[in-house]
């Protein structure tokens, strides 16, 4: 009986996106950005959204986080429709330099949402220490963000997000503006944070390797108007490592599959552009 329950439990979706559409503006002429997007994220999963550049990934993430009201469709968090910004959600933005508050020390940046939530001082202290330790920023508490490197600032943003103990962590191309070595370190940090805090993460990226390396499932998006092209299950165990996992034959198969989908989407754009240019010349 209990075995049956535990096999059923992980199938329940924490996040369900149903028929999500978004157009900028109103009326039939308004350009459609998102076209009936639907997918699920289950507890303790890392799911990546990957797609060609300019495919409306950020619009999608903003719709899920409630920062943007989608034109149609709905987002359910634990079977409750999301209206406005739901509690139990935290976000790591791509641009850490404009998301961390520059007048607050690293510690204060992490503490700020906790204080706003009205947590007791002792609880805040524990969480700050624990989360800064988890991202490897102990000893940098009193520094201002500009005194840290880009990678370290993004670590601070991650600490701030996980200190809120969110049900769902949204990450919007968080490592797009750090160097390759730092990027690998931060990817492993995401995996260790998921394990340590039982995190559910929805991760947006344009990097195919990154999406395969991190995820349990990769959702491949099309060019704009964006729809879901394919959902690719990644069947590696949760323990991954930068060299072993990436050189696994299955890794190559997955990345080739996703790349062909995305390049196909991109190639279609380029073809129409080329046709338009040729038409302009002749």
């Amino acid at each position: 009986m209990s075995a049956q329950e535990s096999s059923v439990e992980p199938l329940r979706a924490l996040l369900r996106v149903e028929n999500l559409s978004h157009a900028y503006g109103r009326g039939p002429q308004a350009p459609l950005i998102l076209d009936r997007i639907g997918f699920e994220v289950r507890r303790r999963q890392i799911v990546s959204l990957v797609g060609p550049s300019g495919c409306g990934k950020t619009t999608l993430l903003y719709s899920i986080s409630g920062l943007l009201q989608p034109t149609d469709g709905q987002v359910l968090l634990e079977d409750t429709p999301v209206r406005g910004i739901p509690p139990g959600l935290a976000m790591v933005f791509q641009d850490y330099s404009r998301s961390l508050y520059p007048w607050m020390s690293i510690e204060r940046n992490v503490d700020f949402p906790l204080a706003a939530a009205g947590l007791a001082r002792g609880e805040r202290r524990t969480r700050i220490d624990e989360c800064l330790e988890a991202v490897g920023l102990r000893g940098h508490e009193a520094k201002y963000p500009w005194q840290l490197s880009g990678g370290m600032q993004q670590r601070a943003a991650i600490a701030r997000a996980i200190a809120c103990r969110p049900d769902l962590l949204l990450m919007d191309e968080p490592f797009a503006s750090v160097d390759a070595q730092t990027r690998e370190d931060l990817e492993d940090l995401v995996l260790s944070v998921r394990k340590r805090f039982d995190m559910t993460i929805l991760f947006i990226t344009h990097d195919i390797d990154e999406s395969v390396y991190l995820s349990d499932r990769v959702i491949v998006l099309s060019k704009s108007p964006t729809c879901v092209q394919d959902q690719v299950e990644v069947r590696f165990p949760h323990e991954r490592d930068q060299i072993g996992t990436r050189s696994h034959p299955e890794f190559g198969v997955l990345r080739a599959h996703i790349a062909s989908l995305i390049r196909g989407a991109g190639a279609a754009v380029r073809q129409t552009e080329r046709q338009a240019v040729t038409a302009g010349i002749s």
């Binding site: 920062l67 404009r98 508050y101 520059p102 700020f112 706003a116 201002y144």
Partner: protein, 281 residues
């Protein structure tokens, strides 16, 4: 040898302080030369309306700093001339800061309010304060209250307009982050909007301080019985020109000190800005 060693052993902070004090020493000689030139020029000219600096300073000492030790060496004249003036300008500036920042924040946050109000605000700030003295005398009498109001009314504009600009320029991602993390309105105002606009607000305060000092003197030249502006006119009309010069020098010193105070506040409030603080490495 030992000098070279101590130089390499100096911490960056100490080196920087040393650099600053050296800069002060290497630049301040210009002021010293100007003072000596004044002294020499005045002595050789020998005209009563252009007294030497040392004579002016002697008179200033007589007027304001020759009191008994029980009153901290200041004279009753210091209280009626200098302290009443300082009180007016400081109160006026504090009022301007409170009103300018609150109104500016409100206008900056309301969408389009700035667009509607901007022509009116620009018009009101453009009226020369001198022209307002008669109407302010009718409205607020001839007491200190009128002078403080006039100082506040003149100095409020740079602070208010800069606050509006600062609040409207707050990085949208700062707001988005605050919304995602469910930060309440009070914290958003006090801990995000205000610090983010602080650099512009303080730039406004610097301009306002200079304006406030001008209007302080100006307001005290009309129907006053105290203040440096009053003393200046009184001494001029009594042909006590050296005393009049003492007032002018004192005003220069007060202006310099007020500006220095604003700089200290700026350094303290904006210590988070890159480059404002030495790296702790």
């Amino acid at each position: 040898m030992s000098a070279a060693m101590s130089a390499t052993a100096a911490t960056p902070a100490r080196a920087q302080r040393w650099h600053l004090s050296r800069a002060f020493v290497t630049h301040v000689w210009v002021l010293v030369v100007a003072a000596i030139a004044w002294e020499a020029g005045a002595r050789s000219a020998g005209v009563f309306w252009f007294p030497p600096l040392t004579t002016i300073l002697e008179h200033a000492q007589q007027l304001w700093f020759s009191g008994p030790a029980s009153s901290l060496w200041v004279t009753p004249g210091f209280v009626t001339d200098v302290l009443s003036s300082l009180q007016r300008v400081v109160l006026g500036l504090v009022l301007a800061l409170i009103i300018g920042v609150s109104a500016g924040t409100l206008i900056g946050l309301l969408p389009r309010a700035g667009d509607y109000l901007d022509p009116t605000l620009q018009f009101m700030r453009s009226v020369p304060p001198v022209a307002l003295v008669p109407i302010f005398m009718l409205l607020f009498g001839i007491g200190s209250g009128m002078r403080i109001t006039l100082i506040a009314f003149t100095s409020v504009w740079p602070i208010l307009l800069n606050t509006v600009a600062g609040v409207r320029a707050v990085e949208p991602l700062f707001h988005a982050t605050a919304r995602v993390f469910h930060i309440g309105l009070r914290r958003r105002l006090l801990e995000i909007v205000l610090p983010a606009s602080a650099p512009l607000i303080l730039a406004g305060l610097r301009v306002s301080t200079a304006l406030g000092l001008i209007v302080m003197v100006l307001s005290e030249m009309v129907a006053a019985t105290s203040g440096i502006g009053y003393r200046l006119m009184f001494e001029q009309q009594s042909f006590a020109l050296t005393n009049m010069w003492a007032c002018i020098v004192l005003l220069g010193v007060i202006g310099y000190l007020l500006n220095a105070i604003v700089t200290v506040i700026e350094k303290r409030v904006l210590r988070w800005l890159p480059g404002e603080r030495e790296e702790k490495t």
